[in-house]
């Protein structure tokens, strides 16, 4: 006797993420447009602060892409942050104008990341984390060999001083906005694509993912390179607004501490979480940053508490409790009403 299981396809329809999340996407796009006009009607201070926020969001989203979606906990992302700034510096030194140099420099970082990935992605879990940290240290030391960096002393992107402060501030802002929006879009597309699904499968069970034909290395590589590119852009924007470059600061492990904090507080493995986390971090920085080391120490405590007691972060909790989904990922089944 044979039995057929028939899927009653008339009972439901499928909805893609961009259909369900359409209102949220439109809102987001609208928000970006409004943000783009900020320099025309707001004070210079606000513009500067928002540029800083864009950098935080970029970093948080990149780290979440790595750790949350691909399970790659890197404590060496400062490598690309610093390298992005350094490449920009180098390219400007060679005569390129600053803003193209930021972009090309970040592309250069992506290429470097591709080389690093061949080696670093062989390692798992903790080994990967520390191998990345050591890699960041190696890159820092190599960068410090460059005469223009002058070792510990560092250098400045003096070319920025030739622009009017007003123009410079606004250009940085728009560059930051475009970079952030572009990377957010790329990540949103990525996590909803086959690559995103494959990455999550790898994160949950690498062997199983491999056995169903997912090219584990390739997927990890794509994610790794994209994350490096984003961090490099963030480093370039930071350089553009602060002008000075000291290797110890740009290659400092505190950047990864910040990324970790933002992602844990906002919500690992969600698209919106890191953005919320970055805003929370930005506000804390604004209001409590004056407390210096005690504030930084407190960040560590909060990160630990979130990791232990609120592992889904603020956004993850909201999603669970309220069933809130602004930008759902994947495909959902929608049951149709019976006649």
């Amino acid at each position: 006797m044979k039995q057929f299981v028939q899927v009653n396809s008339a009972a439901f329809t499928t909805e893609r993420w961009y259909q369900v999340g359409r209102p949220a996407l439109l809102m987001g796009a609208l928000l970006l447009v409004v943000l783009a006009t900020v320099p025309f009607w707001s004070s210079g201070l606000v513009v500067d602060k928002l540029t800083t926020l864009f950098v935080y969001i970029l970093l948080a989203v990149m780290w979440n892409l790595l750790a949350g979606y691909a399970g790659l906990v890197s404590v060496g992302q400062q490598a690309f942050f610093g390298l992005g700034a350094y490449f920009a510096l180098r390219l400007v030194e060679m005569g390129m104008s600053p803003y193209p140099a930021f972009f090309v420099g970040a592309l250069g970082c992506a290429v470097i990341a591709l080389f690093i990935s061949v080696f670093a992605l062989r390692f798992k879990d903790g080994e990967f984390a520390i191998a990345m940290w050591v890699t960041a240290e190696v890159i820092r030391i190599l960068v410090m060999f460059d005469p223009i960096v002058q070792g510990e002393t560092g250098t400045s992107l003096l070319v920025m001083n030739q622009y009017e402060p007003e123009f410079r501030r606004n250009s940085n802002f728009w560059f930051g906005l475009v970079a952030m929006a572009g990377m957010l879009g790329l990540v949103l597309w990525l996590i909803n694509s086959r690559i995103g699904a494959a990455a999550q499968a790898i994160r949950d069970d690498e062997e199983a993912a491999n056995s169903v034909g997912i090219r584990v290395m390739r997927v990890k590589q794509i994610i790794f390179v994209v994350a490096a590119f984003g961090c490099a852009l963030a480093g370039a924007i930071w350089l553009a607004s602060s002008v000075t470059f000291q290797p110890r600061t740009y290659f400092g492990v505190q950047w990864t501490v910040f990324m970790l904090f933002m992602v844990l507080v906002g919500g690992l493995r969600t698209f919106e979480g890191p953005i919320i986390g970055a805003i929370a971090f930005f506000l804390l920085q604004e209001f409590l940053g004056d407390y210096g080391v005690w504030y930084l120490s407190g960040l560590g405590v909060v990160a630990i508490l979130f990791a232990l007691y609120v592992p889904n972060g603020i956004w993850g909790e909201l999603q669970q409790r309220r069933g809130l989904h602004l930008l759902p990922t994947g495909v959902r089944l929608k049951l149709m009403k019976k006649d």
Partner: protein, 323 residues
């Protein structure tokens, strides 16, 4: 050259001491503690606190700091690490990384940013050395550190091999569930290991404070050195950790002497990365049937038939060997 070899060897003793705790916790509980370096610095500051503020003699301060470190280890394991261990690899990394940030900035908040050292308090020992030949001399403190590392690691190894606690630690490391099924309280074993690891780490921190200046933010670098020593030496063996520490110390020392002082850390990092890669590609090569076969495979169509035949032969051999 010989001088820098000896300096590197002696430095390796310090690294082994620093790495022993990390190695032990990783070996027994598969737990990677990213705050390890910061805990060593905490140990150093405890001793500095005893000497600077309480006016104790340095050796008494070291002696008194060890039970404090033991308590720190016990508390961390009981209230923090155990909670993270049940939930995969992500949580321990995140939590200990956060703990590192707490410790660094907390130490800075309490003790300020000034670099500190015990060197002023230990008199001649900090700079005295034995003249071996006209050109060669070894510092007393590095020799003492090295000797202490050997003694402590040997003691630990003997404890692991021949005592009841040692057996229960090895059993838990091998299979925690089976250990439980034989009456071993695996949580208690993990706590004991954390206590031992923190005492060792505190001791390493005090030794660091004797031979160098420390600041609250030195922890991450110490973690990296410790981890490099553990990985170079091979995970899960204390003697391996000693060898790893020595290899790291010698490569740093040689890099600094032969190239330039900036290469001190870089050489160590490069050796570490090289060891990691060789170990990894070594496994791949082994799976494919050895270096020679791999080269033949890559050599192209000229040798295709013969090499494929030998791959088969070699593969069968390996399979038989594995049984």
């Amino acid at each position: 050259m010989l001088d820098s070899l000896i300096q590197g060897l002696l430095l390796g003793g310090y690294y082994a001491m620093l790495a022993a705790g990390l190695s032990l916790m990783f070996g027994v509980a598969k737990f990677i503690n990213l705050a390890h370096g910061d805990l060593a610095i905490l140990g150093a500051y405890l001793v500095l606190f005893g000497v600077d503020w309480l006016g104790l003699s340095p050796w008494l301060a070291v002696l008194l700091s060890l039970p404090v470190m033991a308590l720190v280890g016990w508390l961390l394991q009981k209230f923090l690490f155990t909670r993270t261990q049940a939930a995969g690899f992500l949580l321990p990394l995140l939590v200990t990384f956060g703990l590192g940030a707490v410790l660094q900035n907390g130490l800075f908040g309490v003790f300020g940013s000034d670099t500190r050292s015990l060197a002023n308090y230990i008199g001649d020992l900090s700079w005295d050395s034995w003249q071996i030949t006209n050109e060669l001399s070894v510092g007393k403190l590095p020799v003492m550190t090295f000797a202490m590392a050997i003694v402590v690691l040997s003691g630990l190894q003997l404890m692991l091999s021949f005592t009841r606690l040692g057996r229960s630690i090895r059993a838990t490391a091998s299979d925690p569930e089976a250990a439980e099924l034989n009456g071993i309280n695996s949580h208690a074993v993990h706590r004991a290991v954390a206590v031992i690891a923190m005492v060792l780490t505190g001791l390493a921190g005090s030794l660091l404070a004797m031979r160098a200046q420390v600041t609250p933010y030195d922890g991450p670098m110490q973690l990296i050195f410790a981890f490099e020593a553990v990985v170079i030496g091979g995970i899960g063996s204390l003697w391996g950790t000693l060898v790893g520490g020595i290899v790291l110390g010698i490569s740093q020392s040689l890099g600094a002497t032969l190239i330039s002082s900036q290469w001190f850390q870089l050489t160590g990092h490069l050796v570490f990365l090289a060891v990691l890669s060789v170990r990894f590609y070594g496994t791949i090569v082994h799976q494919r049937g050895g270096w020679w076969i791999l080269i033949k495979q890559l050599a192209g169509p000229m040798t295709r038939w013969s090499s494929q035949a030998s791959i088969k032969a070699k593969a069968t051999k390996t399979r038989i060997k594995n049984r």
